[in-house]
């Protein structure tokens, strides 16, 4: 039993190493009721196995002053290098998450509860991705923690999903519309740059 658990943990760690590592291109602040907010960005990074390059975007719609409907997407390619990406050797991954975002404590803390669908290597994966956003340093930076839990159960039931934690810093340029993001899932480090529109 211990040996099986060990195998499952190793498999889980390895398989989770490349999954859903895109940045959260937003702060904890919610949109005003009826308002829209958009962000797009590019990101990249690596773990011990592979490099990842991608684009990501977020769309928020204010349902109330404290609740948004938040949707994000990302497209990424995993390969040994950017050169191999352009040669077509990469593995593509598409993520789409959508769900409510509740902002509390004077818009400084937010919880997103989206459902996520991921498509990669001719397979769809369904998951839920609860995400905690915390604005710090006078709202110039946002810490985030996202847990991606796959719905499906199978042989490696011990694998319960992967955790991504990161940090957004809003550059004091263009009305704080440009943000830098750094995030990690514990086995890789990723960074990106985005713009809020």
């Amino acid at each position: 039993m211990v040996k099986k658990t060990l195998l499952i943990l190793c498999l889980g760690l390895m398989l989770s190493s490349c999954f859903a590592v895109h940045p959260e291109l937003q702060s904890a602040k919610s949109e005003d009721k009826g308002a829209h907010g958009y962000s797009i960005g590019v990101y990249g990074g690596a773990n011990v196995l592979v490099e990842t390059y991608g684009v990501a975007g977020v769309y928020n719609y204010g349902l109330t002053d404290k609740v948004d409907w938040s949707t994000d997407f990302s497209f990424s390619v995993q390969a040994s290098s950017l050169k191999r990406v352009f040669q077509g050797f990469g593995v593509n991954q598409y993520n789409l998450s959508s769900g409510p975002k509740l902002s509390v404590l004077n818009n400084r803390v937010a919880l997103r509860l989206p459902a996520t669908v991921t498509y990669s290597t001719e397979e769809f994966y369904l998951s839920t991705s609860p995400t905690l956003l915390l604005d710090v340093i006078d709202e110039k930076a946002t810490l985030f923690l996202r847990y991606n839990r796959l719905y499906e159960r199978n042989a490696i039931e011990g694998y319960s999903g992967d955790l991504v934690f990161g940090f957004n810093y809003f550059l004091p340029l263009k009305s704080d519309q440009i943000l830098l993001s750094i995030q990690s899932n514990g086995v890789g480090l990723y960074g990106g740059i985005g713009v809020t529109l």
Binding site: L7, C10, C18, L49, A79, F89, S120, L150, E152
Partner: protein, 171 residues
């Protein structure tokens, strides 16, 4: 006279520059020494996202002898593997691996030691006969690919692991 000579030179140059591979078949393209570029192994378990494990093979040379139907892998002047192959048709190739094949075809270094049962199963797979799809084959490039399900036995349990293996060679 000078003009004729110039014309002859141009014609000769033109003929030398012609692509003489027009009527080549896969066996003609395969023949020769190929330089390793990269091998990618994509491992996944059903319903879970997989892991891509690419590794550079630029230290390898693959001498394809189409007369004796052998593939000899050389690393820095040392022969590390030799296998026989059968060209099944223009897009499929069957290679009979050896116990050494996995050592250059799969990079286990970055993976946790706990995955040893997978490697044991892969060792058996690579040392057997394997049919590759010839995804790309021309005068300069060769891409070979196969995918298969590998049952991994561990502590009385079986986990089906899918392997997608791609080899990229250049001349």
């Amino acid at each position: 006279m000078c003009k004729n000579f110039l014309v002859l030179i141009l014609i000769a140059g033109g003929l030398m520059g012609c692509d003489r591979t027009e009527n080549w078949t896969a066996i003609d393209f395969l023949s020769g020494t190929w330089e390793g570029q990269e091998i990618t192994n994509y491992i996944k378990i059903q319903s879970y996202p997989g892991a891509l494990t690419p590794h550079s093979t630029d230290h390898l040379l693959n001498q394809i002898d189409t007369v004796n139907r052998t593939s000899t892998i050389d690393s820095a002047g040392v022969v590390i593997d030799k296998s026989v192959f059968v060209l099944l048709d223009e897009t499929h190739l069957s290679l009979s691996g050896t116990d050494q094949t996995i050592n250059w075809a799969f990079d286990t270094d970055p993976l946790p030691a706990g995955l040893e049962p997978i490697f044991d199963s892969l060792r058996v797979l690579f040392s057997g006969e394997q049919t590759f799809d010839i995804q790309l084959l021309n005068k300069k490039e060769c891409i070979l690919y196969f995918d298969t399900i590998v049952p991994v036995y561990y502590a009385g349990n079986v986990v089906n692991v899918e392997l997608r293996h791609t080899q990229y060679w250049q001349k």
